[in-house]
């Protein structure tokens, strides 16, 4: 096996190369392999980032048993490994196309061993996929009218501010008595760099309809503010976006046309067409683990024992008389795929009106089961 270890130090670009062999049929565990690498390079206490070049020339990480075994199986027969010190790791090197153009070891080395001075600007550091965590998501698409959007913002105790403001306003509703102007709460401002802005799911003048499942109708601005702050660790806001063009359109032409609330014969073909273009299940990322959700649902107070370390307060299992324990969310948790750019597909959605809300709900109830299987696609 060809190994291409890297010991980037100030003294030299001097890459150290080691070559050793493994039994392909018994590769063992990743941890053992990792220990072996540290051993052969005599760097027992250095955190390493292990990568390999796959058959396409992509630099892919090895950090668990799964991708370790995968790497071993792809070795043909030589497996080229790249080691980097973790703190100095150049994450941008990972991913597709990183190695495709330069398939030679020299080229690979050139990628990895670029002297710092030659870099025009510092590369964007992207964490490893498992280090990603959701910061926001659109949820409950299957049960909401298409004109509405339910957005979940995950605070996770991070430093980034939620970053938005709300204001009073009025909106027009369709009531049995006709059109009626009713007071409403609207997003008035997004703080640049804040969570709300960076997700792209909330915009100025979006009308806030619910906060964590509780309707805001009839509540004052201060009340809604308090509700949002009280839920800020796990804020779920249902909005009616001011810009209705980017609404989620569901898969399945018939369902979609039904839930748009328009007569099916006039709308069907159009929706079929647009859906056919836009919807591909591959755009869905389901990187959200339900157990995480349970944790964030119940914020953990911190208890510091006198003189001891901090321990989070666990939830007493099955304690009697819990009023507020809530059933877990449906597992159906699509995450916005930012890389998708299927713009312009759902222009017709802006024609939806609030007045159709009620019949929407009925149609959806029927349609829900199939939706759950297919998932949802979000377009921007």
């Amino acid at each position: 096996m060809n190994r291409n270890p890297r010991e980037p130090s100030a003294v030299e670009f001097g890459a150290e190369f080691r070559r050793f062999s493994l039994d392909r049929s018994k590769p063992g565990k990743f941890d053992e392999f990792y220990g072996l690498l540290q051993h052969v390079h005599r760097i027992p206490n250095v955190d390493l980032l292990v990568g390999y070049a796959d058959v396409h020339g992509d630099l892919l990480p090895i950090n668990n048993d799964g991708n370790y075994h995968k790497a071993i199986t792809t070795a043909a027969p030589l497996l080229r490994l790249f080691l980097q010190r973790k703190e100095e790791a150049d994450y941008s090197a990972f991913g597709t196309e990183s190695l495709t153009r330069k398939k030679t070891p020299a080229a690979l080395a050139a990628v990895l061993l670029r002297p710092d001075g030659n870099r025009k600007k510092p590369p964007i550091i992207i964490s490893l996929p498992q280090d990603f965590r959701p910061v926001s998501s659109i949820i409950d698409v299957d049960i909401l009218p298409e004109t509405h959007r339910r957005v979940r913002l995950y605070k996770h105790g991070q430093e980034k501010p939620l970053g938005f403001y709300i204001r009073d306003g009025s909106s027009v509703r369709v009531t049995p008595q006709g059109l009626e102007k009713v007071p409403g709460i609207f997003i008035s401002r997004l703080v640049p760099g804040g969570l709300a802005e960076s997700t792209g799911l909330l915009a100025v003048n979006d009308e806030v309809l619910e906060v964590n499942g509780i309707e805001v109708a009839g509540k004052s601005l201060d009340q809604v503010t308090d509700m949002m702050i009280a839920n800020s660790h796990n804020l779920i806001i249902t909005v009616k976006p001011a810009n209705q063009r980017n609404n989620i359109v569901r898969r399945g032409g018939r369902d979609a046309s039904g839930s748009s609330g328009r007569s099916s014969d006039s709308g069907t073909s159009f929706y079929m067409a647009s859906n056919a273009i836009a919807m591909t299940p591959s755009h869905i990322i389901q990187n959200f683990r339900p157990e995480e959700e349970e944790d964030s649902e119940d914020e953990e107070d911190l208890v510091i024992e006198g003189g001891g370390a901090a321990i989070p307060i666990g939830h007493v299992a099955a304690s009697a008389g819990v009023t507020c324990s809530m059933p877990s969310l449906p597992r159906y948790e699509p995450h916005l795929n930012l890389r998708t750019s299927n713009g312009g597909m759902a222009a017709s959605a802006s024609m939806d009106t609030v007045s159709h809300k009620d019949q929407d709900m009925e149609v959806q109830a029927v349609a829900r089961r199939s939706l759950e299987e297919d998932g949802t696609v979000i377009t921007l």
Binding site: P161, R167, D226, M227, S232, H233, V316, V322, T323
Partner: protein
């Protein structure tokens, strides 16, 4: 997303029934002094007093416990009140020139006050054309059938009572002027009617005083001027002498004149005597004068005048002068005199008035002078307590006070009121039928001037028991010395300070912030604005001792903080004399001297805990030794160091913003006005820009999770002591808990030596747990619950067998209430057990919480613990404990009433108090069982029962032509029913002035059987000008209409 929705409790009918037996919301009674009183009246027969306020309320008081409240539909100021003596009826005149008739009715053995009639005169304030009919003075004739109305225009109108029908007998200037001598006329108007007085002996004669000074004795029957008194000084008021031979007029120059009525000389030019008591320099007007006779010595004995002070020297004083023979006292009040009356003999047979007391209504208090006792001492009032004699800064309630402590406090209080007689309260009408309260309840109010007042809150009338002053242990700038106020012998006028309303505080640092009292040991902790914490002990003996002073540094050498607020109060050096009552034992002063924000006391352990915006401390007052001090400041918190004054800074921005908004709205408002001007294009553009700007910055709220370094995050919000399991589940012991503004809770395990070793061994405190609530909302309250979920008893309750011992076997839990949610944690692990997220669900924030025991109405045996919570929206929620299930919700206080919400206190039995004005507590009840409300009875003697007539609109009466013939020809419609069958009692109004063929004396139809339309017709003759007729028939009321066309 239903899962987030408030989970409804299943509508279990059994549970609903229990809830109905436990909870009921009632606003029961208002304690204290009515805000902005504007009128006073007294009924000598029923011995009831009525007070009207600027907000349109009428409050009637009699014997202690007898109280009625009525509120006019329109919130106009009550300018005058008159009793229809003996009838239990009250006539009120409002600022909008409308007259209202109130009646004390009876229902189920309890009396209540209700409005039965109203009458609107066309005169409205501010409208010139109608000011002529604006009412200036009212006179109720003694036989109560006629109301004389004096107006601004100088006319006197006569209204028949109680129907308010205007009689066509009005008296105008010209009729009076006819009999006036030519030289008096000289083309000038007589001015408004200033006074109307009925002749004390001859009912048909009334005395009419005009502003210009003319006084007329008018005979109603003959419509003739009997006497003219040609006064030349502007008239303020008139009063008859009892015999009717003389009367007194008071004037705007500060003098009064005595006139003799002589039937032989119809025109009197000069008064018998003329006096200006405080002349010769210009004096203020004598607004009202009363003249009462006694048999001591001189014939004319007591005169009371209000005002009359020399303008230059004492123009700003509020005075009332009592003159009797050579005795002359000037009562010097601290607030404006509204009105006054005397309680005197009304028996017509007696020769003298013999006044027993003088009742003075001031703007801020009620003062009663005992005239029967030499020296004229004041009589303490059993109600209308001036709660706000210094502004209330905090309140504290103690339920179920042991009788021993109660008696000692009363004894201490009695020794304080040396200058008061304990004579009988003169106003004693009606009788209270409310059951005697089983428990003694104390309400303690802390005041701005450093006093703590103890009130008896057991019953309907809140009575002062004892006043504790903390100012005397500090050196303040002005040591007020009571002896200074006692006037020297030679001083003129002979001022005497009366009343206790004193809104000025010597030093704002003296203000009381927190109070805690142990009702079993008589130990009291009082904490104030300058970080002072005073431990006191109730002593029955006078004492002269030094006070131990200790300081506790709450910053704990934290670097980089400098206190920019006020200094601490310098304590007095040397020994201080203390009267029997609560006497200070030790004074603890916090450094920096920020206002104390939380305090608690454990008398059994001899410990106090106190907190400020910087941290909290624990102090052993037995050994006079600090046990613990902990700084809670966050390193980034700068605001906490600046003291209370610089909070203005944080307000600045928002103020600036709102001013900008106002300015903008003004600009945009002007736009339309200037639009025609061609040169104003720039202005217009500016206005438009400003408008756009305004649109760009609407009222908006930032949505951000609270971070740890919010300012004032270190403020200690609550402290509590508990004997519980903190370190392990097998050993319980003393603990102390503290909660801060940023959601931190600190729990300390305490080593408290046993009783015998208190002196030798010191108390130790070890940090046991530190809890950081993730939502970081301020911690409002902490309470420990025992194994059965009951709150732990108070100190001494168990050792003195006053409460059941707590369950120490099962696992304890701690209930932590933050502004946003309630959470119960199991002890000792501090694992979350139950919670309720109030703010996340309802959008409201917790302001006040209390653990309350609710007892069922159906059985005294059944009770439940509840967590009562008042929110920033002014509503009250009750939750079960420890399950934290929502039980009931009531709207209580308007959400705009921030001071009301901030002042609310709950009792342990499910009642509460909050301030509705600076001087009044509203008492409310959440319990269906424990209700303290006035239940009283007044026996009235009424010939004409108006209750069958109910409320009728009469406002157009003045515009009608009162030709009786026309009324007779009116078309009568009465319901659809031709016959009204039942036992009917029809009131017939006595109307001697009604010259109709059908008129007769009082006529009461009390017939069983059929009543025909003809009968009704007859009846209608008497109810004349009602446009709607209500006939009560058994329990039903039939409505009919009368057309006046």
């Amino acid at each position: 997303m239903m899962k987030f929705r408030f989970r409804r409790q299943g509508n279990d009918p059994q549970r609903e029934r229990i809830k109905q037996e436990l909870f009921a919301f009632n606003k029961t009674v208002e304690h204290g002094f009515p805000n902005q009183p504007s009128a006073l009246a007294y009924d000598p027969q029923l011995q009831l007093m009525a007070i009207g306020t600027k907000s349109g309320a009428i409050k009637v008081y009699g014997a202690p416990g007898v109280e009625f409240t009525g509120l006019h539909k329109d919130t106009a100021a009550v300018t005058q009140i008159h009793f229809l003596s003996g009838q239990g009826r009250i006539l009120s005149l409002l600022d909008d020139n409308s007259l209202h008739l109130w009646e004390i009715g009876g229902k189920e053995g309890h009396s209540y006050l209700e409005e039965v009639r109203s009458f609107s005169l066309p005169g409205r304030p501010g409208i010139e054309s109608t000011s002529a009919t604006r009412v200036t003075v009212l006179l109720l004739k003694l036989n109560l059938d006629l109301l004389c109305v004096g107006t601004e225009g100088g006319g006197v109108h006569f209204l028949q009572l109680p129907t308010f029908s205007l009689l066509d007998r009005s008296l105008f200037h010209d009729e009076v002027m006819q009999s006036a001598p030519e030289e008096y006329k000289c083309g000038k108007s007589l001015g408004p009617v200033e006074a109307l007085q009925e002749h004390p002996q001859q009912a048909e004669k009334i005395l009419i005083g005009y502003s210009r000074g003319l006084v007329v004795l008018w005979d109603l029957n003959t419509r003739h001027v009997d006497n003219l008194f040609l006064g030349k000084q502007q008239l303020e008021s008139l009063v008859w002498e009892r015999s009717g031979n003389t009367f007194v007029s008071s004037h705007s120059d500060g003098g009064y004149l005595v006139w003799t009525v002589n039937s032989s000389t119809p025109c009197t030019h000069q008064p018998t005597t003329s006096t200006i008591p405080y002349g010769p320099f210009p004096c203020k007007a004598v607004n009202k004068i009363l003249w009462r006779t006694t048999e001591t010595g001189c014939v004319n004995a007591a005169q009371r005048t209000v005002g009359g002070m020399p303008r230059a020297s004492y123009g700003d004083r509020h005075c009332l002068t009592i003159l009797q023979d050579s005795t002359h006292v000037t009562l010097d009040f601290t607030s404006r005199v509204i009105d006054f009356f005397t309680v005197h003999c009304i028996d017509q047979e007696k020769e003298y008035d013999d006044p027993t007391s003088l009742v003075v209504l001031l703007e801020e208090e009620l003062v009663v002078i005992d005239l029967a006792t030499p020296g004229w001492p004041t009589i303490p009032s059993p109600y209308l307590a001036p709660l706000h004699s210094s502004a209330i800064t905090c309140s504290y309630h103690i339920s179920n006070v042991p009788s021993k402590l109660w008696e000692r406090i009363i004894t201490a209080g009695q020794s304080q009121s040396a200058n008061q007689t304990h004579g009988d309260w003169p106003i004693c009408g009606g009788r209270s039928v409310a059951p005697e309260s089983k428990q003694k309840e104390l309400l303690l109010t802390g005041h701005e001037d450093g006093t703590v007042r103890f009130w008896d809150a057991s019953g309907v009338s809140l009575q002062p028991l004892y006043k504790l002053s903390t100012a005397n242990i500090f050196q303040t700038d002005c040591d007020h010395n009571d002896s200074l106020t006692q006037a020297g012998e030679e001083e003129w006028p002979p001022f005497r300070k009366v009343g206790c309303f004193d809104p000025y505080s010597d030093d704002p640092r003296l203000g009381i912030q927190k109070i805690c009292l142990c009702k079993y040991s008589g130990k009291l902790v009082v904490a104030g604005t300058a970080g002072q914490v005073i431990v006191m002990y109730l002593s029955d003996e006078k004492s002269d001792h030094m006070i131990d002073v200790a300081t506790v540094d709450l910053l704990q050498d934290r670097e980089g903080f400098t206190w920019k607020g006020h200094d601490r109060l310098p304590p007095k050096t040397g020994s201080v004399v203390f009267a029997p009552g609560f006497q200070p034992v030790v004074l603890v002063q916090c450094i920096p001297p920020a206002a104390v924000t939380a305090v608690t006391l454990h008398a059994e352990w001899n410990l106090i805990a106190f907190g400020t915006s910087h941290g909290f401390g624990l102090f052993d007052y037995h050994r006079r030794a600090p046990v613990l001090a902990r700084c809670t400041l966050h390193p980034n918190d700068s605001l906490a160091m600046e003291g209370p004054l610089s909070r203005v800074k944080s307000l600045k921005k928002s103020l600036r913003q709102s001013f900008r908004r106002i300015r903008k709205s003004r600009v945009s408002g002007k736009k339309r006005a200037v639009i025609s001007n061609p040169t104003s294009k720039v202005q217009e553009a500016n206005a438009q820009l400003a408008e756009q700007d305004a649109e760009m910055a609407p009222v908006q709220r930032r949505i951000e999770a609270r971070s740890a370094d919010d300012s004032l995050s270190g403020v200690v919000r609550c402290l509590c002591f508990a004997d519980t399991f903190l370190r392990d589940g097998t050993h319980h012991g003393p603990t102390m808990w503290a909660g801060t503004n940023s959601g931190s809770v600190y729990a300390y395990a305490l080593e408290v030596p046993s009783q015998e070793k208190f002196s030798e061994q010191s108390v130790e405190a070890v940090l046991g747990k530190e809890i950081q609530l993730m939502h970081r909302a301020p911690v409002v309250s902490i309470a420990v619950l025992d194994g059965r979920g009951n709150p732990l008893p108070e100190p001494y309750e168990v050792s003195r067998d006053l409460a059941k011992a707590p369950d120490m076997q099962g696992s304890h839990s701690v209930l932590i209430a933050s502004e946003e949610q309630f959470k119960v944690f199991m002890l000792p692990k501090v694992s979350a057990k139950t919670k309720f997220k109030l703010t996340a669900h309802e959008g409201c924030r917790v302001r006040k919480v209390a653990l309350v025991t609710f007892t069922s109405v159906s059985s005294e045996e059944y009770c439940e613990n509840g967590l009562v919570c008042l929110t920033n929206l002014g509503d009250i929620h009750v939750f079960s404990v420890p399950a934290l299930r929502p039980q009931v919700r009531y709207d209580c206080i308007r959400k705009e009433d921030i001071s009301g919400i901030a002042s609310c206190v709950f009792t342990k039995t499910g009642q509460g108090f909050y301030l509705i004005s600076p001087s009044e507590y509203e008492r409310f009840s959440l319990s269906a069982r424990v209700i303290t409300e006035p239940l009283c009875q007044v026996d009235v003697d009424r010939l004409h029962d108006l209750t069958v007539l109910r409320y009728s609109k009469l406002s157009h009466c003045l515009h009608l032509q009162f030709e009786h013939n026309e009324v007779f020809s009116c078309v009568i419609k009465i319901c659809s029913s031709k016959y009204l069958q039942a036992r009917m009692k029809l009131p017939v109004l006595s109307s001697p002035f009604l010259e109709s063929p059908n008129s007769s004396a009082d006529l009461t139809l009390d017939t069983t059987g059929e009543l025909t339309v003809e009968d009704v017709k007859d009846f209608l003759v008497y109810v004349l000008h009602l446009d709607t007729l209500y006939v009560s028939c058994g329990r039903a009321v039939y409505e009919g209409a009368v057309n006046d066309s």
